[in-house]
Subunit: 407 residues, 2 copies
């Protein structure tokens, strides 16, 4: 067996990016099926939004210059030349001294360059209004193309679509869009001690947690998970299962049994696969050190630690970004700031991830470490996020403002 | 038409909670279909997790007392009585002076109360080891029930399920669970000026944004959206559409055309429905003031503002929490803290919601207001979150630490 090739998180990410080149297929989806999908192509607007100068209030379209100097004591008097119907061209051309009644969202008549709010006007008879406050040109309207200009980039390739993004796509007339098909992820649990959730564990046995946590994390990241069951600690059985999962997916996650034996089998199987082979074996990270990754052809295979918290931390660092946007320098998690509630020690040369929950004291947000072994799933359930102590730091003092990656 | 009944956000929420009592149906889902669903019943553990004292390292199970005082210079010598196989009862009973080889995750033999790590031992011949460091009772193991104790509450009713929650459900043997069926939400757009995304707008027309943004927000909140199209400004047409949507859904969202005419039609239709009728008409909120809500029987109907940003702000305050957990005092959004980059003014007696994006300067997170009219969808696309200026405050100074609700 080759020597432990321990790398930093950054080195691990770089190695994976250099050697893994999955084939990304795309599909067309309608607007109503686009939420949380990832754009396969940059979208530019074929036209101006709005396509005309549009009132943002109920009132009168005017020539701003006609209102300069207007006041309660000395109003401007304007002739009402007509009314703009909603959803139609104004059909009027305003001249100096004229106004047109207009509702919010209405199209400004030609000649007009501002809108006076209804509450700053008064009817004087059937066709005349008094305007008792001046408006500047451009006031109370949205200019043609002010929301989105024709040819403007609306959303960039690799952007993960949020509700407001769907709104802007509707606004520029996109009915269907090209998004990446989810990356397919095969999930294998290993270990002679692991049994399915439906089984009552005999002495020495525990139920499979990682298959289900990882399944949900893949789903949550926009990937397509598939479970390949629990494989006992046998080289041939594990190899067959990994080969099947690799053939049917873009990525494979093997969640280790935690024993030496299981780890050895995983290493052996990853060594037996095609080139370029094992990329690293061990990360300077806590929890998550016993992580191994290999690439065989265009398939990426991870041997994840067996402890649930460790597997989740490694997933968030190395797998989630790939599923969300195909690379590592993308925003995949929500970040909050809080003050650390107690001192935390850390070994230099190791990146520590510490689970925390929030408490609010006198309006201030504090991050309180949730202590507990990384083998405990209950620690993850109590946690609301995690903080990172970087490689070069030997700890953090209570009161330090920390970034919390929210779960 | 009745007088404007303007309420605060808190009053609006209280009125809705008091008058709306939807029937929540439930369904059984498997673990792999439970992500982001809401638990309909509290789950307690039927057994201890783990079901036995379990080693967290590779090494030797021992009686801790046998190692007290051990050092490199003066090790403790122990007889290796056997090896614990993974996934099986230890099958050994340790006596003082004995040790058993054990792997991470292995079941502690009877008599043992700690585990010595492999690296702190040395083989001396076939059956004897030297232990050169003491361990305390309980060291390097997880006690039976330490992760979850039998009878302990694992997850509470109304909890929205995250990946780690699925992990703990697997650990306690839950294969299927009872979750609420999503609330059904009918979505209606109104306004003579509004056309579908596939239509090229004629002068005066704009494409429907709100139907699609709201559809995605409902989906994102765990609800089940259904579109009822764009209804012109006609009382009879709007009434028929609202009645159909109310019959087929738990909630109805009417996104206003922004003109006075459309607003009047919406009010008229809501007044014509059954009891208890209109709850409020107007909220002291910016953006989002022209919001109206009514309850008819067990259906809740909102008339939302026409401006996309306004509709989104009102949705987040009044609709999203109901979809996520059926009430308002639940955690539905991610919150970050940042320093405000500039002074912001606000009218007293009005709750202002201001869209912001983040910038990081010298490691500090700043929230920078994204200025722009609430009629612009592009403002929402540029924004990463929003801050709130409460009712009683007249503004915020640059440098103030603000809570940012992340989009």
């Amino acid at each position: 067996m080759e020597l432990f090739k321990v790398v930093t998180v950054k080195e691990a990410q770089d190695l994976i990016r250099r050697h893994w080149h999955p084939q990304r297929k795309t599909e067309q989806v309608p607007l109503t099926g686009a939420l949380a999908k990832v754009l396969a192509a940059t979208i530019t607007s074929p036209g101006d939004v709005p396509g005309f100068d549009r009132s943002t209030v109920d009132g009168f379209a005017v020539l701003a210059a006609d209102t300069f100097g207007a006041s309660e004591g000395l109003p401007s008097y304007l002739e009402v030349a007509g009314e703009v119907a909603m959803g139609q061209a104004a059909g009027i051309r305003l001249k100096s001294g004229q106004a047109a009644q207009i509702a919010t969202g209405g199209m400004l008549p030609e000649g007009a360059d501002a809108v006076v709010m209804l509450e700053h006007t008064e009817w004087l008879g059937q066709t005349t209004i008094a305007v008792n406050r001046p408006v500047a040109p451009g006031e109370n309207l949205v200019r043609r193309g002010e929301d989105v200009a024709s040819g403007e980039e609306v959303l960039a390739q690799n952007h993960r679509i949020r509700p407001q993004d769907i709104g802007i796509l509707a606004a520029v007339g996109v009915e269907e869009l090209e998004v990446y098909l989810p990356l397919r992820v095969g999930i294998i649990s290993t270990g002679n001690e692991v049994v399915a959730p439906g089984v009552t564990p005999a002495p020495g046995q525990v139920r499979d947690i990682n298959s289900y946590t990882l399944h949900a994390m893949v789903e949550d990241s926009g990937g397509k998970p598939a479970l390949y069951g629990i494989i006992p600690d046998q080289f041939a059985a594990l190899k067959a299962s990994v080969e099947k999962a690799a053939a049917e997916n873009d990525l494979v996650l093997i969640s280790g049994g935690s024993s030496v034996g299981t780890r050895d089998f995983t290493v052996g199987v990853l060594e037996s696969l095609g080139q370029p082979g094992i990329l690293f074996h061990g990360i300077s990270l806590r929890p998550g050190k016993p992580t191994i990754a290999a690439v065989s052809g265009d398939k990426l295979i991870f041997g994840l630690p067996g402890h649930p918290a460790s597997a989740m931390v490694v997933f968030d660092l190395l797998v989630r970004p790939l599923l969300v946007c195909g690379e590592y320098n993308c925003f995949t998690q929500r970040v909050a700031r809080a003050k650390l509630s107690r001192n935390l020690a850390s070994g230099a040369g190791r990146e520590d991830h510490v689970r925390v929950r929030f408490k609010e004291v006198d309006g201030e947000l504090w991050a309180e470490p949730v202590l507990g072994k990384s083998g405990l799933i209950s620690v993850m359930v109590k946690a609301e996020g995690e903080i990172v102590i970087p490689l070069e730091q030997e700890g953090l003092l209570a009161g330090t403002v920390v970034k919390v990656q929210l779960y």
